[in-house]
């Protein structure tokens, strides 16, 4: 294996892993801020307990997002030094601004939020978590600005003497059509994930209480009593009410975010057809230009355009995805290949088709299933109904909460794998091939070492994080501490969320 392949593998593994945590952080930050706002406005302790419960989950997750994020920033220079030299004049500014504007804000105010409960006035403390939530969105904007340049370079000129791209219009970089289309799609997709975590944890507790109810009721019946005598434990009753609220907030947010994700994704598809037609063709494994173009839900056979055994096709849908009308022309891979070969010289300009074809479908598929899951949850819990504990719906309720957050989370991963793999063979579309961006001084052994160490550490962290996460969920709503005596000498800070 060579340095290039290993570096690509490492970047792929580290960024996909990093991006398991980022959407949870972005989504949860906003939802926790919303819950705390509800508490500050209503003074109801239920919202405070929910804020602390979800706040704890947010922090457990945020930590891994932070540590894996630093790796990403360092990797551009470590593994992709020629890329860094080539695009640094343009690419570096958004990264620096991400740190200056967003990361400083997120981490400083997060520290204030975690430990400032009894040190700051209520409203200022609330402002801290809002600043964190805003910071996460700002950081998404700047990193997407950098990424969008790689998808669709704008506002630059090529300095042939220095062999690099140089910035001539910063305004164009921050209004890149790809950026403007990706930003709403990405943020709403993040909120889908955050909301699904809120929903899932709430559902888990509702199921827990419902099962406990049923067990206690059948025990009463067995003891020849009447099930109607059953009185639920006060704490469980409070849990049930609080988590019903959380479930509703989570599901409704997920549905709104889901709808926005679909709408924004549709816009994004049209921009992509415009600026990266090869990626659109690769998404459909469309080899020959079609007018109108159909969209296949699923294909069995090879995706090289030669042997198609069986496929479900929706006529004219691809035309609609690409152009908002049912008659538009969508260019095929072969036609684009010929065109690019003339423009950029001989070479293979098609990305890995099976990867782009399936990730595109899976991204949309899991998104739709998650959305349907949200609708189902709202229906099943209508009018104060409790989750079923037996039969088919009992099984759905038992395993559904575990699966639910994975769907939009994987949707995010598939979307990014599609976007980045669909950009290949380019690192910066049309300007820099991926193979030319790698650091020339690295040996494969060095990259192999880092690949093994990072993958190993990430694997261990994943296990620890998931355990702590589920443990914190099952611990339930945290108890509220009494008001601390003001102005006492500082004891070691309690980890009070």
């Amino acid at each position: 294996m060579d340095t290039l392949l290993l570096s690509r593998l490492q970047f792929g593994i580290t960024i996909v892993y990093h991006f398991f945590f980022v959407p949870v952080s972005i989504g949860l930050a906003g939802l926790v801020a919303g819950l705390q706002t509800a508490w500050v406005r209503t003074g109801h302790p239920r919202y405070l307990r929910l804020t602390r419960f979800y706040g704890k989950l947010f922090l457990i997750n945020f930590t891994i997002g932070v540590v894996t994020g630093i790796v990403q920033e360092f990797q551009f220079g470590m593994n992709w030094s020629e890329f860094s030299r080539f695009v640094g004049d343009i690419f570096g500014a958004p990264l620096a601004l991400e740190g200056l504007l967003a990361f400083f804000m997120e981490s400083t105010f997060l520290g204030l939020w975690i430990f400032g409960w009894d040190k700051l006035p209520k409203k200022i403390h609330l402002a801290c978590i809002w600043l964190v939530a805003i910071g996460t969105v700002l950081s998404a904007f700047w990193i997407l600005a950098a990424n969008s340049f790689m998808q669709h370079p704008v506002g630059y000129t090529i300095n042939t003497e220095l062999g690099r791209a140089e910035l001539i219009d910063f305004g164009a970089v921050v209004t890149n059509p790809v950026l403007l289309a990706t930003m709403p799609h990405q943020i709403s997709a993040c909120y889908m994930v955050g909301a699904s975590v809120v929903t899932a944890a709430a559902a888990w507790h509702l199921v827990r209480v419902a099962r406990k109810d049923r067990a206690a009721q059948s025990a009463l019946v067995a003891a020849s009593g009447d099930a109607a005598d059953y009185v639920r434990d006060a704490e469980d009753d409070e849990s049930r009410s609080a988590f019903r609220t959380a479930l509703k907030i989570g599901t409704v947010t997920m549905l709104i975010a889901g709808a926005l994700t679909f709408i924004a994704g549709d816009t994004q598809g049209k921009v992509m057809t415009d600026v990266q037609p090869m990626k659109m063709a690769a998404a459909e494994a469309l080899y020959h230009t079609e007018k109108p173009a159909s969209f296949s839900i699923i294909t069995i056979g090879t995706l090289d355009g030669k042997h198609e055994v069986w496929a479900i096709k929706v006529p004219r849908l691809l035309s609609f995805l690409a152009h908002s009308n049912f008659t538009g022309e969508v260019q095929g891979i072969n036609n684009l290949q010929t065109e690019y070969a003339q423009k950029y010289g001989p070479g293979d300009y098609a990305p890995n088709i099976p990867v782009t074809y399936w990730t595109f479908r899976l991204m949309m598929g899991v998104g739709f299933v998650a959305f349907a899951g949200g609708v189902l949850i709202l229906w099943l819990t209508r009018k104060d109904r409790d989750p079923a504990t037996t039969g088919f719906w009992g099984i759905v309720w038992r395993y559904g909460p575990i699966l639910l957050p994975l769907l939009p989370l994987l949707g995010n991963s598939f979307g990014w794998i599609f976007t980045e793999m669909g950009r290949q063979p380019w690192l910066v579309f049309g300007l820099l091939p991926t193979r030319d961006g790698v650091s020339p001084n690295l040996s494969p052994v060095q990259v192999l070492i880092s690949l093994i160490i990072l993958t190993g550490v990430y694997g261990v962290l994943a296990v620890i994080e998931l355990r702590l996460f589920t443990r914190t969920i099952s611990a339930g709503l945290p108890d509220l501490e009494p008001e601390p005596e003001p102005d006492s000498a500082d004891k070691p800070l309690s980890y009070a969320y």
């Binding site: 920033e73 500014a93 500082d490």
Partner: protein, 355 residues
């Protein structure tokens, strides 16, 4: 001053911010075994940095990002050259951060002990290796005409760079001990002061040796300025330690903070106008002229930094103000009473909520 020079200065400011702030975080992490002998003491020691360490760490992300933006060539060369040391630094930063954030989530003694070791190792690696990296940057490395490193890992582990690593390690430990003395009371403070005395004495010896060696490195263009910076830095360290002996905690911390900043200024002064000297051929050295971004990019960055850096400094200062009180370890009985109260608490809260 042209913008490239301005950005050289801003880059120095960002690294000063990082090393002054994370320097004491590393020092506090390294202090766990000696100053925090029991779990509750280690918790108290870590409490001094828990609300702020993450904000402090962002300085390195911004320093890296700004280097990428203002000196793309420098960023590319440095980060690819120090591939394995940076990997070790990243490894350290990862386990330290997770340790700091996860330690308190469980009461389990074994869980906490494991994270304590992660915090210690995760403070040790960056404290040592950032010094090694910067030592090499100032000393120079085999760099070819394409600005790529041509040496091996062994070239990075030369005596000068290793000494630089030991200097940052001991200096950060001193800085952290002095910080702990400023931020704690009672027995913890006394232990921190004892540690500051020992670490400080070692830092003086290593630091002065390093500065003397630094002044004799070939290729430095501003020898006079480097000498002045070295003397001021050494004087700040002596001042800080003197104030420490005089029990003036605030002044002593100011002294070590200026020392850390002084080291960065001295190193950057020794570099200027080079960014990464080439020992293969001086003509192949990276300089602020041949590695900087365009005037247009630097202008945008300058305006951004001029607005945002003071803002960040202001709100970070406010954070330190919010958490300004010294950490006091509660007496053991009170601790036990706390535990009893905590156990008794939930039911009363529950009943309050039920009502």
């Amino acid at each position: 001053m042209d913008l490239a020079t301005v950005w050289f200065v801003i880059e120095a400011v960002l690294w000063i911010g990082y090393f002054v702030l994370e320097g004491f975080d590393f020092g506090v992490g390294l202090s766990l075994p000696l100053i925090g002998r029991r779990d509750r003491e280690r918790h108290a020691v870590l409490s001094t940095i828990l609300p702020v360490w993450d904000g402090n760490e962002v300085w390195v992300i911004v320093a890296g990002g700004a280097m990428f933006a203002a000196f793309p060539g420098w960023y590319a060369t440095i980060f690819s050259t120090f591939y394995l040391p940076l990997l070790a630094i990243l490894f350290g930063l990862i386990i330290r951060a997770v340790g700091l954030e996860y330690r308190e989530h469980r009461e389990d003694a074994a869980w906490r002990r494991r994270w304590d070791w992660c915090i210690i190792a995760g403070s040790f690696l960056p404290a040592l290796l950032w010094g090694v990296a910067f030592g090499n940057i100032v000393r120079g490395l085999p760099i070819n005409a394409g600005h790529n490193f041509t040496g091996s890992l062994l070239d990075l582990l030369n005596p000068f760079a290793l000494l630089a690593g030991l200097v940052t390690l001991t200096l950060f430990l001193t800085h952290g001990s002095v910080f702990l003395a400023l931020r704690t009371t009672g027995e913890l403070r006394l232990r921190a002061k004892r540690q500051a005395s020992v670490a400080g004495a070692i830092t003086v010896v290593l630091g002065v040796g390093f500065l003397v060696w630094l002044n004799r490195l070939p290729g430095i263009e501003n020898r006079g300025a480097v000498l002045v910076c070295s003397i001021v830095t050494a004087a700040a360290l002596v001042f800080g330690l003197g104030m420490h002996l005089a029990n003036r905690d605030g002044w002593s911390f100011a002294g070590t903070a200026v020392t850390v900043g002084g080291v960065v200024i001295t190193l950057f002064t020794a570099l200027y106008p080079r960014l990464m000297p080439s020992t293969s051929n001086p003509a192949w050295s990276l300089t602020i002229q041949n590695s900087s971004a365009t005037h247009y990019t630097l202008t945008i960055m300058t305006w951004s930094a001029a607005v945002l850096v003071p803002l960040v400094l202001a709100y970070q200062a406010w954070t330190y103000w919010t958490f300004r009180k010294r950490i006091t370890l509660p007496p053991v009985d009170a601790d036990a009473a706390d535990a009893v109260r905590a156990k008794a608490q939930p039911s009363s809260v529950r009943s309050a909520i039920a009502k």
